[in-house]
């Protein structure tokens, strides 16, 4: 690039042709790759979530998993939309039923993205804000719920699933993604920490406390349920405890509305 030779018209054309061709083929290649990998990526994520839910709730292959997606509509005060397996329902903030739309048959088995697009059309200016899952036996009885939550941890957002049985007892907690430090904060993803949530009931959650320091060998039976924090990662542990509390509480409220 250093040499200062003047550029002739012919060279100019070559350079332009060069750059145009490169940019054009770059966009073309990326477009093709994107369209090839994107559906695969989505189906992979959906499949992983399904396996995780089956594992958390100990479901067999026959059990059905229903996804309930929640949308926040426009207006002041706003309205809430819930997309169930076959219909979209609109409620006001106090949980009063307003309106419903039937989800066309073609969309019932369609990928999430297409269902979201359908909701956008029917329920304008709304956007997706959260979701939970309900597991159903083949005979139609509900066996449990899994809700997705997130909480700001030590470094950034910790996303997690909480699985609950039909009578709101915690069946499992699983961290989906986090950016906590390896060796410290990421210990919250290990069974030693997350299994402490097992069996906690809705009524215990209110008073659930985080205790600093590792779990002692012998735990005296106590009235109050507590979670022992990961040593050196109190903030991450506290974040997960707060997040689980909130997620379960919100799920309980919303189930009362949609049920």
């Amino acid at each position: 690039m250093k040499e200062k030779s003047p550029i002739t018209a012919k060279e100019m054309w070559r350079i332009t042709l060069n750059l145009t061709l490169v940019c054009f083929s770059a966009a073309l290649i990326l477009g093709v790759v994107f369209n090839l990998t994107e559906p695969k990526k989505r189906s992979q994520i959906a499949a992983n979530e399904k396996t995780l839910i089956q594992k958390l709730l100990n479901l067999d292959e026959k059990a059905k998993i229903l996804e309930v997606r929640r949308y926040l509509g426009p207006g002041q005060p706003p309205t809430i939309g819930y997309l169930l397996s076959d219909e979209l329902r609109q409620y006001n903030l106090d949980g009063k039923f307003l309106k419903k739309w039937d989800l066309p048959e073609v969309f019932q088995k369609a990928p999430t993205q297409e269902r979201d697009e359908w909701v956008e059309k029917e329920f304008p200016e709304s956007h997706f804000v959260g979701r939970f899952f309900a597991a159903q036996n083949p005979d139609g009885t509900l066996t449990g719920y899994v809700t997705e939550g997130s909480q700001y941890g030590f470094k950034s957002l910790i996303r997690f699933f909480v699985a609950l049985s039909q009578n709101f007892q915690i069946r499992g907690v699983e961290v989906i993604s986090h950016e906590e430090d390896p060796g410290l904060g990421d210990e919250i993803t290990k069974p030693a920490f997350k299994n402490q949530f097992l069996g906690i009931r809705l009524e215990d959650l209110q008073t659930l406390k985080l205790t600093k320091g590792p779990k002692p060998e012998e735990v005296a039976p106590e009235k109050e349920k507590q979670i022992y924090a990961v040593t050196g990662a109190t903030i991450s542990s506290q974040a997960l405890v707060d997040g689980v509390k909130q997620a379960v509480w919100h799920l309980e409220r919303r189930l009362n509305v949609v049920r």
Partner: protein
Amino acid sequence: MSKQATLLNDHQIEVVVTKPGVPSPSEFRLTSKKDPDILIPIQEVNVIPAKEGGLLLTTGVKVDPKGSYQLIDTRTGAEWLMAPSLFGVVITVLLTAALVQNFVFTRYLGLCVFFGVSRKRETAIGMGVTFTVVGTLSGLLAWTIDRFVLHPFRLHFLQIIVFIGIVAFLVQMTDTILKKINRPLHRKFGIYVVLITTNCIILAVPLLNALNENGFWESLALAVGSGIGFALALFLMSCARERTDLAPVPSVFQGLPIAFILAGLFALAFLGFSGLKI
């Protein structure tokens, strides 16, 4: 809409109401911006004696002091919005990017340039200043293009190529303009401008902004903060390296190995910032 409602901590709210008397907790409606359909229970309402109409509300569950909440007095219909101020958010993002999550010492970005130009204090300062300026410009330009072109047209798979293009364009432009306008300045900073292309921080900033869907001010704060953080890291490192040049370092450790050990020590020291709550 009045503004006299503030979150004191994670379970207390101070509010000034116009209607006299002590309302019952159920007469207030507290919701978060994120989940407007979930009522946050209020446990008790106490009067603040020193303030006229001042009330102290205690919530039944934890609230996030950095979150946005809406409080309604159902007796009068008065509405309060509690949200962190823009200035507060900007300062938080800026300090987080510069210290708590310093791009060099806790995210390990920009290391090639970091080890390359931290030998002398003078070059470190030159690089730091140049990077902060160009990084801020590119962060803003990338944010604009991402928000108004890539996002609406769902072209996010072109992000990398577009962002690197923006950086290359800005570097070339800065170099040319500097050369035309101010020759001495170009002689001093020109070399650093060219080196910026290989600094991954400049690419990480727009990518992080796009990932977290940051708004304009947050993006600006992240860009400036990352620049300051990088400059700070460079300056600290160059001071330390000028000293190790004079110290009797074992021969196998001379040059880069000792620089890495030093960087490790700095990284440990920066770990101390991470407990900081801003």
